[in-house]
């Protein structure tokens, strides 16, 4: 069963990569056409897509009659002069570094969702040829961005869902029904299909909280990310790095002495191979979580790019008729993304469990 799932995952991946290549080809050629014919209307699909899958300081939903409907979010900056906080609405939806916000005697601008603090006395931003800000520095940005807000929403949802499930057991020990039953099935799925076989009967219980949390966090966040106007949280490398680091930390903390001996001084092979293998194994310890973070980030981002590219085709070709093809295709990919949302959560949890299982395994044959 495990093998089959991995195989199907591989298939989805292959299909997706092929699709991305195809879409880039199409967008690239179409874009060159449109820029030739009509340069006044500059719809830039790359900017549009990057804007949609990237993070931002306000939660922008849509524009209506030149009015931008955006949820303002707090901007929190840690500067040399301490913490500075203000709402993102003070930039007035500006990300081109034109609007200057003055707080505590410091001037801030938003240049492509990076907040810069202008140097003392400067009142205007100066760019170099590559659009880098010359007269300002970026302070440590701890803002509640769109993605952070989306993470909060996922977390609140998880508290609601599992608080409800836990409350059910307080009342009765019967199997729950309806939505609770579905959640229980998934909890048992993580326990019986992921944790128990990968980590082993003796130690799996210790890692269940992490595995359950990471599984449901990724799955729920993936699903929320598919909603129109939602943030692309699990398709952001910062988030997946954090998740991968948790797996790495668990491996480093819980690795048995046996595991480390196998990493640094592999028994049962000729002496001169041992140092070479040690390098490979040490690299492997770090590559495993890196692979996890890149897989999740790439799969989710790829899905978003495909859907946005398909929708973008309508504007690139400037023909509403294209929607007849684009929309069913986008719908198809969206349905596929529902599967991918679950699959990636499963794969991340499964491989985390596998790596942890390898680290805590007891070898009896030595």
């Amino acid at each position: 069963m495990k093998f089959k799932l991995l195989k199907s995952m591989l298939k989805v991946d292959c299909f997706k990569h092929f699709f991305i290549a195809f879409m880039f080809l199409v967008t690239a050629t179409s874009f060159s056409f449109s820029s030739e014919s009509d340069s006044s209307k500059d719809f830039n699909p790359t900017d549009m897509i990057m804007h949609h899958i990237g993070d931002s300081h306000g939660w922008h939903f849509f524009d209506y009659n030149e009015i931008s409907v955006t949820l303002p979010l707090p901007v929190i900056l840690y500067t040399d002069a301490g913490l500075v906080a203000f709402m993102s609405s003070e930039f007035h939806h500006d990300a081109e570094a034109k609007e200057i916000v003055e707080k505590n005697g410091m001037r801030f601008v938003n240049s492509h969702e990076t907040i810069y603090k202008l140097n003392e006395g400067e009142t205007e931003v100066i760019f170099d040829e590559e659009h880098h800000v010359l007269n300002g520095i970026a302070p440590l940005d701890l803002s509640i961005t769109k993605n952070v807000a989306a993470i909060f929403i996922s977390v609140i949802l998880m508290f609601l869902i599992f608080g409800k499930l836990a409350k059910h057991y307080k009342k009765s020990n019967q199997a729950p029904s309806g939505f609770n039953n579905m959640m229980e099935t998934l909890v048992l799925f993580v326990r019986d299909e992921i944790a128990r076989p990968q980590i082993g009967e003796k130690k799996f219980m210790r890692f269940m909280p992490f595995l359950l949390t990471v599984f449901f966090f990724i799955w729920i966040t993936n699903l929320l990310g598919l909603l129109p106007g939602a943030a692309n949280v699990t398709g952001n490398i910062s988030v997946t790095i954090a998740l991968g680091l948790f797996t790495l930390a668990l491996i480093l903390i819980n690795g048995t002495s046996d595991y480390w001996r196998h990493v640094f001084w592999m028994p049962g092979i000729p002496g001169w191979v041992k140092p070479i293998l040690a390098i490979v194994e040490v690299l492997g310890v770090f590559i495993k979580p890196i692979a996890l973070m890149i897989r999740l980030f790439a799969n989710i981002t790829a899905g978003h790019i495909i859907i946005l590219s398909l929708i973008g085709l309508i504007f690139i070709l400037e023909n509403a008729g294209v929607a007849g093809i684009s929309v069913p295709f986008a719908l198809f990919i969206s349905v596929l993304e529902l599967l991918v949302a679950f699959l990636q959560a499963f794969i991340f949890t499964m491989l985390s469990a596998l790596f942890i299982g390898m680290a805590v395994e007891e070898h009896e044959h030595h």
Partner: protein
């Protein structure tokens, strides 16, 4: 490039939020859920085992019942057989007794008949003797008026007696 450049703020919040999430969910959700599920599984297993045991017990009981039934049936058959033999024996005995009694009675009757017959013969003989004497008296009175006739009679009598 912007896509794969990690952003510290988001990373920071993800770490903080995830740690809190793991901690709170473990305390308020995962622990109670896992414990309840484990407990339920244990209950189900126990119930299944109990059911198995009950089934086994019932099978044993059934077997016992069958054994008892068979024993009872055998006993009944034995009793019936005994009764049959008893009946036969009783009947045989009764018949035998009856036969014995009847033969005894026949023998007694025969003996009685014999003795009665003897008595009757005795009586008859004495009667005949008396009668004979009376007849002889009368005959003698009438016939033996003369000598001749007396003689003739005696002769005749004698002849008759010899014939008898």
């Amino acid at each position: 490039m912007e896509l794969i450049t990690p952003d510290f703020g988001l990373f920071f919040w993800q770490i903080i939020v995830f740690l809190i999430l793991v901690f709170l969910l473990t305390k308020f959700a995962w622990k109670p859920i896992m414990m309840a599920v484990d407990e339920r599984e244990k209950t189900i297993n126990d119930s299944l085992q109990a059911a198995d045991r009950a089934k086994e017990e019932m099978m044993n009981l059934k077997e016992d019942n069958k054994k008892m039934l068979n024993e009872a049936r055998e006993e009944r058959d034995q009793i019936l057989r005994d009764a049959q033999t008893m009946k036969k024996r009783l009947m045989d005995e009764a018949t035998e007794e009856a036969a014995k009694k009847s033969s005894e009675m026949i023998l007694k009757a025969q003996a009685t008949i014999q003795s009665e017959k003897k008595l009757a013969i005795k009586e008859l003989k004495s009667q005949v003797g008396l009668l004979s004497v009376k007849i002889a008296e009368k005959v003698l009175q009438s016939e033996l008026k003369d000598e001749q006739s007396q003689k003739a009679l005696v002769d005749k009598m004698l002849k008759e007696v010899e014939l008898n």
